[in-house]
Amino acid sequence: MAELKKNTNKNVELKGAKKEDIMSPWKVVKHRLRRNKLAMVGLYTLLFMIILAIFGPIVQKYVFGITMEKIDLYNISAPPSLKHPLGTDEVGRDILTRLMYGGRISLTVGIVAVSISVVIGSIIGGISGYYGGVVDGIIMRLVDIFMCFPFFPLLLMLAAVLSDYKVDPKYRIYFVMIIIGILSWTGLARIVRGQILSLREQEFMQAAEALGLRDRRKIFRHLLPNTFASIIVSATLGIGSAILSESALSYLGLGVTPPYPSWGQMVQVATDYYVMQYEYWKWIPPGVCIFLTVMAINLFGDGLRDALDPKLKR
């Protein structure tokens, strides 16, 4: 309670600040975020995971000489030791190194899938909200159609079709990203459309009209930037759910396929009861990695939502 009061006081100071230290909207957001401890914990955990995924494999390769495929024949299914901090898998590959590579893949899948869905969602939402009328009607029916698909069964079906065409595992990762992205833009499109419907009635749009700007410029330069706050929030949370979808898909053997590791795929070995009971180092670390990363993203995204919400002035 004491802390709460302190916070309120700070906020009063913030509001009644002198003219010279007026804060820009982004600074206010940063300030609010910094005060949210949970969000900061999320941010630092996420940064840690990203750094580990980017630099971890490089360090392993050039300092310890261990790569993703390197097989240590003397240590097959070995428990954690000094040489292999997280043990080795059934063919003697170092789990820690594979975990780092898996992180690269899982995080990339999350980020690229969400980028795809953000691009599609904001363009479609923008067009739908700006033009309204028949265009809006048709697009929104299309969104309804996409929304009433059961997301995961459809994902499975598409992934299965992918397997039938025997796509090279190297390119399969990209297809997985594209499929997840294409299946998840609808929520964002609805949010963007709703906001643009009200934004386009505002006075600055009359000014844009008076200036004779082209529709494209009006949508992309004047309307969409005003919806950035909700786009950022839903994109952040979207990365978390994209990682979860990818890991579930890979766990079922329909996502990222060997030789490329992904966290979900690494947990797969636990379907063997012997591994589950006695060789915990093979499947618990990747599971914990998925959980920690998604949790960090959700904590940060939740804090971001609070920080970006103009209604929420505590």
Binding site: L142, F149, P150, P153, G240, S247, L252, V267, N298
Partner: protein
């Protein structure tokens, strides 16, 4: 609703068409002669262009005939009917449990916003959302079924059990416990966050202040006056749960080997049993639409203010 359903059926059909092989590849005997194959193709209208095939498919679906499952060698409708109820029992139990847990927690979080309890439940909710269900399920199996052998590893009933009545119910509940925990952890989170934000909006309203000014006890203000209005948006999301009740949690069911629709669908995916997959997806899409409709209707029912519009 109808145009959306038509759109859904077209997309499902297109995915099916995009898959290599056709309805025959899955069911034919490799020893079948070329002539018989052609004859069968003709019989099933597979020699005709996609749009005609779509017409035949829709006609059959409207008659309730989803075709024959390759894997089970049975009509799709029959297969779905056998397994969907097992999913329904599990999901219904999880639904009831989540409502019982989530709504009180949501109210406590809202009435004591920014307190320790609120942070605790917020973190708990985020854990529920962030936990991959397959990993959590495996952990529970390791801890409770393999390590201390408190619960069974998988299945719905003890193998060979002939128990009936209450004994059967007890056996099913015993097997249901672990999957129920996994499912409930995932759904409590969303419902709790929803209740919390809806409650936060309501307790700031004037009539709540009036109720307090009238001298009502805090309990009555919150649970009788505020909660009723706060639950309006929550009740409507129950409608959206309808497809979820039948689609089952595919992964959770698969991990615990629960004989629901989830493992069947996985089996169908792995065996490329397209008629079954199309049937399940079509049913789920229909239930989703029905759920949305129910949500709209309940909204008008529980909130008289909506009806005026």
């Amino acid at each position: 609703m109808i145009p959306v359903l038509i759109g859904v059926s077209i997309i499902i059909f297109l995915i099916f068409q995009a898959a290599p092989g056709d309805a025959l590849t899955g069911m034919m005997d490799p020893k079948m002669s070329y002539e018989t194959k052609q004859k069968l193709r003709k019989q099933l209208h597979l020699d005709e262009p996609g749009i005609i095939q779509y017409k035949y498919w829709v006609q059959n679906v409207l008659k309730g005939d989803f075709g024959e499952s390759f894997y089970f060698k049975q009509p799709v409708g029959k297969v779905m009917n056998t397994y969907i109820w097992n999913s329904f029992y599990l999901s219904l139990a999880s639904f009831i449990l989540s409502v019982l847990i989530a709504i009180p927690i949501g109210v406590i979080s809202a009435t004591r916003q920014y307190s320790f309890m609120d942070y605790f439940f917020t973190v708990f909710a985020l854990i529920g959302i962030s936990m991959p269900s397959f990993f959590f399920g495996l952990l529970l199996i390791k801890w409770f079924a393999v390590d201390i052998k408190l619960f069974p590893v998988s299945g719905m009933m003890t193998a060979g059990s002939t128990a009936v009545g209450f004994a059967k119910f007890k056996d099913v509940m015993y097997h249901m416990t672990l999957p129920l925990i996994v499912l409930t952890l995932g759904s409590v989170a969303g419902l709790m966050r929803y209740t919390r934000s809806s409650m936060l909006e309501v307790i700031r309203q004037d009539y709540v202040r009036t109720a307090r000014a009238k001298g009502l006890r805090e309990k009555v203000v919150i649970y009788k006056h505020a909660l009723r209005n706060a639950l309006i948006p929550v009740v409507t999301i129950f409608g959206m749960w309808l497809p979820g009740l039948f689609s089952g949690a595919m992964i959770t069911e698969a991990i615990f080997n629960w004989p629901g629709i989830g493992p069947i669908e996985l089996l169908a995916v792995n065996n490329r049993d397209y008629p079954l997959l199309m049937g399940i997806n079509m049913l789920l899409a229909f239930l989703t639409l029905l759920g949305n409709l129910i949500a709209d209707v309940t909204y008008a029912l529980v909130d008289p203010r909506i009806r005026l519009k």
